[in-house]
C-alpha cells in the first residue's frame, strides 16, 4: 500500500459513508437502504486483498457507527464489515479476480450483513429489530448491492491501476 492508495481507500470510504447517509437513505427506495459502504469495503478487498479489505471494513464500520444519525450499537457495523472485507479479499485471492464471482460474493455479503445485523441486534436485546422487515430488506439489499458493486468494483480497480500500473490485479 503506497500512501496514495491509502488516501484513495480513505476517501472512498468517507465518501461512501456520507453518500449513504445523506443521499441513498433519503431516496425512499423500497426495502433496505443501498449499502454503499459495504460495497466499497468489498471492492477494497477484491482489489487489494484480505488485509486491506479487513481494515477498510473495520474503518468504514466505525465511521458508519459514529457518524450522525446512527444510534445503533457502536461496533456492530464495524464487526460485520470487517468480516465482509476479509471474505472479499480471500475470495479474490482464490478466484483470481473473476467479476461474476465477485458479484456473487457481494450478494452473499449483503444477505449476511442484513441478517447478521438483525440477529446480533436481537441477541444484544435491541428492541428496535423488526423481523417482519428483514425478508424485504434482504432481497432488496442484495439487488442494490449487486447493482452498486457492478459500478464500484471496476471503478475502484481502475483508480487502483492508475496509481500503480505495474501491480494491476
Amino acid at each position: 500500500m503506497t500512501p496514495a492508495r491509502v488516501v484513495v481507500v480513505a476517501l472512498a470510504l468517507l465518501g461512501a459513508v456520507v453518500l449513504q447517509l445523506s443521499l441513498l437513505s433519503r431516496l425512499n427506495l423500497p426495502g433496505a437502504t443501498p449499502d454503499l459502504v459495504l460495497v466499497v469495503v468489498m471492492a477494497c478487498g477484491f482489489v487489494r486483498g484480505p488485509v486491506v479489505g479487513t481494515i477498510a471494513g473495520f474503518a468504514g464500520g466505525v465511521l458508519l457507527d459514529l457518524a450522525p444519525p446512527s444510534l445503533g450499537y457502536f461496533g456492530l457495523t464495524a464487526l460485520l464489515l470487517a468480516v465482509a472485507g476479509y471474505v472479499a479479499g480471500v475470495v479474490a485471492e482464490r478466484s483470481g479476480g473473476v467479476v461474476a464471482i465477485a458479484l456473487v460474493t457481494v450478494a452473499c455479503a449483503a444477505l449476511g450483513s442484513v441478517l447478521g445485523r438483525a440477529l446480533l441486534g436481537s441477541l444484544l436485546g435491541d428492541p428496535r429489530v423488526v423481523w417482519g422487515e428483514v425478508p424485504a430488506d434482504v432481497v432488496t439489499g442484495i439487488v442494490y448491492s449487486v447493482l452498486l458493486a457492478a459500478l464500484v468494483i471496476p471503478t475502484l480497480g481502475a483508480v487502483d491501476r492508475f496509481f500503480e500500473p505495474r501491480l494491476s490485479l
Binding site: 468517507l14 459513508v17 456520507v18 453518500l19 447517509l21 445523506s22 443521499l23 437513505s25 433519503r26 431516496l27 425512499n28 427506495l29 423500497p30 426495502g31 433496505a32 437502504t33 449499502d35 486483498g49 484480505p50 488485509v51 479487513t54 481494515i55 471494513g57 473495520f58 464500520g61 466505525v62 465511521l63 458508519l64 459514529l66 457518524a67 450522525p68 444519525p69 446512527s70 444510534l71 445503533g72 450499537y73 457502536f74 461496533g75 456492530l76 457495523t77 464495524a78 464487526l79 470487517a82 468480516v83 476479509y86 480471500v90 450483513s113 442484513v114 445485523r117 438483525a118 441486534g121 444484544l124 435491541d126 428492541p127 428496535r128 429489530v129 423488526v130 422487515e133 430488506d137 439489499g141
Partner: protein, 358 residues
C-alpha cells in the same frame, strides 16, 4: 499457508476490538468516552452531510418522483396541476414545496406560541439499522439542546437526542423505542403513543379503560414536565383503527402520524415551550391539509373547532386563508406567502429562528 495467516490475525484482532467497543457502548451512557467521540464525529460529519444533502437535492427529487409517483394516476394529475402552477409563478417545485412547509411550521408556531428554530434534514439512518433517526443541520450554536421537541409541517416528528456544534440527531416518534404521552382532542383522555418501527403507524394505548376512542380522532402531545422532551399541544396523528373493547385494562388504537416521516425535509425544533398549554388550538387547521393529502377521513376535526375557544384559536383562525394555499393550489399566493422574511432556503449555517411573541 504462511501468507494467509496475517489476514486472519488482523481479522481476529479487529473483531475483538469491535466486540470490546460494543461492550463498552452497552454499558456507557451519553457522557461516556464514546459519547464524546460521537459528538466529535458529529461536528465533522455535520457539514459534510449538509453539503452532500444540498448538492444531491435535485437528484433526490428526480429519483423520488420516479420511484413513488410513476404509476399513480392521481399523483400524475397532481403533478400536472403543480407544473401549470409553477409555470405561472416561475418558481421551482422545490421552492414551492418548501414554502408550503415553512408556512405550516410558522402557523404551528403561532398557534401554539412555540419558539422554534427551523432546520433541515441532512442525513437519515439506514433502513436495515432499524433505528428511525435523522440528522438536522442545526446544533448547539443555534440554541439546540438534548430532549427538545422536533416538529415537521404536519405535526410531531421526534425529539433531539444528541447535539454537536452545528448538527443534531433526532429520534423520530416512529422509532420502536420511542414513547410519547398523548392526549385525545376534545375529551383530553390521556394515553401513550409508541413507535412500531413502521413509518406509517403508531400504537396508542388509552389509560382510561372506558374512555371514548374512535377512528378519526386526533391525538396531541400531552406535554412533559417543563416541555422536555415534548411540549404540549403538538398534533401527533389521527386514529385509524381501534382494537379492544371498553373495560379492558388499556384500550389500544393505531395512529397514522400527521408528519410524513419518509420525506422529512424542513423541521422545526422547539427551543422554548409555550407559556401556557395551547390545548387543541394547534390542531384545527393542521388536520385539514394532512387529512386531504393522506386520504384519511377526518370526521372528528370540524367538531373540535368549537371547544377550543382559547386565545390562540382566534390567531390561528385568522391565519387559515394562508395555510389553505399549499392545499388548494392558489397560484398568486404561492410565490408571495407571509413567511418570506424567513428565507425558504435556510442557509448552510443551519437555521433561521422563527419567533412569535404576540
Amino acid at each position: 499457508m504462511r501468507e494467509s495467516r496475517r489476514p486472519r490475525l488482523i481479522l481476529g484482532i479487529l473483531l475483538l476490538v469491535a466486540f470490546s467497543l460494543m461492550a463498552i457502548d452497552l454499558r456507557a451512557d451519553a457522557n461516556g468516552p464514546l459519547g464524546g467521540l460521537k459528538r466529535m464525529t458529529g461536528s465533522v460529519f455535520g457539514p459534510l452531510e449538509s453539503a452532500t444533502s444540498s448538492l444531491t437535492s435535485p437528484l433526490r427529487g428526480l429519483i423520488g418522483s420516479l420511484t413513488s409517483g410513476g404509476a399513480n394516476e392521481r399523483r400524475i394529475a397532481d403533478l400536472e396541476a403543480e407544473l401549470a402552477r409553477l409555470r405561472a409563478t416561475g418558481s421551482s417545485p422545490d421552492a414551492v414545496r418548501r414554502i408550503a412547509e415553512i408556512d405550516d411550521l410558522l402557523r404551528m408556531s403561532q398557534a401554539g406560541q412555540y419558539r422554534m428554530v427551523v432546520a433541515q434534514v441532512i442525513g437519515v439512518g439506514s433502513a436495515q439499522g432499524f433505528a428511525h433517526t435523522v440528522t438536522i443541520d442545526a446544533g448547539q450554536v443555534d440554541g439546540l439542546g438534548v430532549d427538545m421537541t422536533v416538529m415537521a409541517g404536519g405535526g410531531l416528528a421526534g425529539r433531539v437526542v444528541s447535539v454537536s456544534s452545528t448538527s443534531a440527531v433526532v429520534v423520530l416518534i416512529t422509532d420502536a423505542t420511542n414513547t410519547v404521552g398523548g392526549r385525545l382532542e376534545g375529551s383530553g383522555e390521556i394515553g401513550f403513543v409508541s413507535g412500531t418501527g413502521s413509518e406509517l403507524e403508531l400504537d396508542f394505548k388509552l389509560l382510561d379503560p372506558y374512555g371514548s376512542l374512535k377512528p378519526g380522532d386526533s391525538v396531541l402531545t400531552f406535554g412533559s414536565k417543563s416541555g422536555r422532551p415534548y411540549v404540549p399541544g403538538v398534533p401527533i396523528g389521527i386514529i385509524t383503527s381501534v382494537s379492544g373493547t371498553p373495560g379492558q385494562l388499556t384500550r389500544q388504537a393505531k395512529i397514522r402520524p400527521f408528519a410524513n416521516m419518509s420525506t422529512l425535509d424542513l423541521v422545526a425544533v422547539v427551543v422554548e415551550p409555550p407559556r401556557e398549554n395551547p390545548r387543541d388550538s394547534v390542531l384545527v387547521p393542521t388536520a385539514a391539509p394532512s387529512g386531504a393529502t393522506s386520504g384519511v377521513p377526518t370526521p372528528g376535526v370540524p367538531t373540535s373547532a368549537a371547544p377550543s375557544a382559547s386565545p390562540g384559536a382566534s390567531g390561528s383562525a385568522s391565519n387559515s386563508p394562508v395555510t389553505a394555499s399549499p392545499n388548494a393550489s392558489t397560484p398568486p399566493n404561492a410565490s408571495t406567502p407571509p413567511p418570506a422574511p424567513t428565507s425558504p432556503r435556510p442557509t448552510s449555517d443551519g437555521a433561521s429562528a422563527a419567533t412569535e411573541s404576540p
